[in-house]
Chain length 243, copies 2
DNA sequence: ACAATAGTGTCTATTAGACAGTATCAA
DNA sequence: TTGATACTGTCTAATAGACACTATTGT
């Protein structure tokens, strides 16, 4: 903070959101099809400009999400992901974008809002591979968001945020497998999860119906940080080789 | 990114730097005494406004560091720490600050630059405790930076960045002890560090002179990520109770 | 009965934690 | 020889990884 006698050049502040969820055991990211130039017609992250000088950054993020995807996500926890401020990243001028990451439990199908032609869940791997091109530098932001999620699964209870209010241990295992792109041993996974106090708590004597033996249901426990962490296997025995 | 027909309010972009180092086995942070209003005369993090629309954020960070602290830190790696954008955090108007974290190996005593009355290394614990008050929300930024450093010591080779080009294993242990504020067992520390391939490499047959048995010198190895991580003891046996 | 999913038990190898003594220098 | 710092070895408890079987439901 220096220089009080001249006015430094100002920039527009944008917020962008990386919202991740699981659909059919695959990691998906919420994207909107842009309805206005620039990049009209291509997919982009939900987000937008700070609207007035008094608006808080996270407030702007929540507002944009509601506007563009009509998602009622008051409870959605937004975590700061990074700042993207390369001088030429937006053709309209100097835009510094603050990116947030959120994990969505279930899948309230988004509805396109005012400025977005369409809002959809898209497979994260298609974005990361470049198969689906995004506007601005949003592919990079998605990549950073996915990487953050992978890391946070290790030392935090983030995985439960991918699940609904109640879930089975198998559900939880699917989260790890989808985000990490590997296969885990159910026996070791059960043991590890069960003995990590406060990670998950039994949702008393409730069960679930499919075909096969009913499963016990659990809820997210109070513990947010995992000591010792879940360990990501070391680049071997990757059966379902995603990415 | 929406709204193309009106111009959103712009904000000033600032960069702030948390530079950490070790002096006399204690964690220190680089602060400057502000030479201009607001907060003239109080300490603050080095930093300042983006100067022109084409300037990159990290470029601005490096420039400010050179200007305010006259530190020649081309090689200093700046890591994005966070964004601080509360509407009222700066009395001059809407300022969104991008904070960076860096770890400095040795201690080239800083020289006060143009806008800073003074530039000094200050003990981090005095800042965190509130004993030394900082301008703006800089105490919070320092707190976030220190917490980040603590975490990164666990799963990255960051600790070597606190040391000079060569160092002894004891030097490295002092880094962990100072940042974590605990005491470690030298035997277990030696074993752990030695068997983590690529963490440190021997700087061949060089020694050091003090009083006592000479120590072998090492350099930072190629490994940047530590698997398995160094583990921070669990809140017990904290002999030298810092913080 | 069979299919399908849920759940458990054991053995082994590795690792962290606790702990005490030897080695090498200068004075 | 003493003081001061550098280094090393062992035992034990906890944990991860590998692996196969039993349990409970619907059809």
């Amino acid at each position: 903070m220096t220089e009080d006698h001249w006015t430094p050049p100002a920039a527009m502040i944008a917020v962008d959101l990386v919202i991740l969820t699981l659909r059919e055991s695959r990691l998906h990211v919420l994207l909107i099809e842009r309805g206005v130039e620039p990049f009209k017609g291509t997919f982009a992250l939900p987000g937008g400009f700070l609207e007035h000088v008094e608006e808080d950054l996270t407030a702007a993020a929540h507002r944009e999400l509601a506007e563009e995807a009509t998602m009622d996500v008051e409870t959605l926890h937004l975590e700061h992901l990074g700042v993207y401020g390369s001088p030429r990243r937006d053709p309209r001028g100097r835009v510094v974008s603050v990116a947030y990451l959120a994990i969505a439990p279930r899948l309230p199908d988004p509805i396109a809002g005012s400025d977005a032609a369409d809002a959809r869940w898209q497979r994260a791997d298609r974005v990361l591979s470049g198969e689906l091109e995004l506007a601005f530098d949003h592919r990079q932001i998605v990549e950073d968001g996915v990487e953050r999620a992978r890391t946070k699964l290790e030392y935090s209870a983030l995985a439960t945020a991918f699940c609904g209010p109640t879930f089975t241990i198998t559900d939880l295992q699917r989260v790890y497998e989808a985000v990490w792109g590997i296969v885990l041993d159910p026996r070791n996974f059960y043991r590890k999860v069960q003995k990590t106090d406060g990670f998950i708590v039994a949702a008393n004597q409730e069960h679930k119906a499919t075909s096969g033996r009913p499963a016990k249901l659990f809820r997210a426990g109070p513990r947010k940080v995992l000591y010792p962490p879940m360990v990501r296997p070391t680049e071997t025995s990757n059966t379902r080789g995603e990415e």
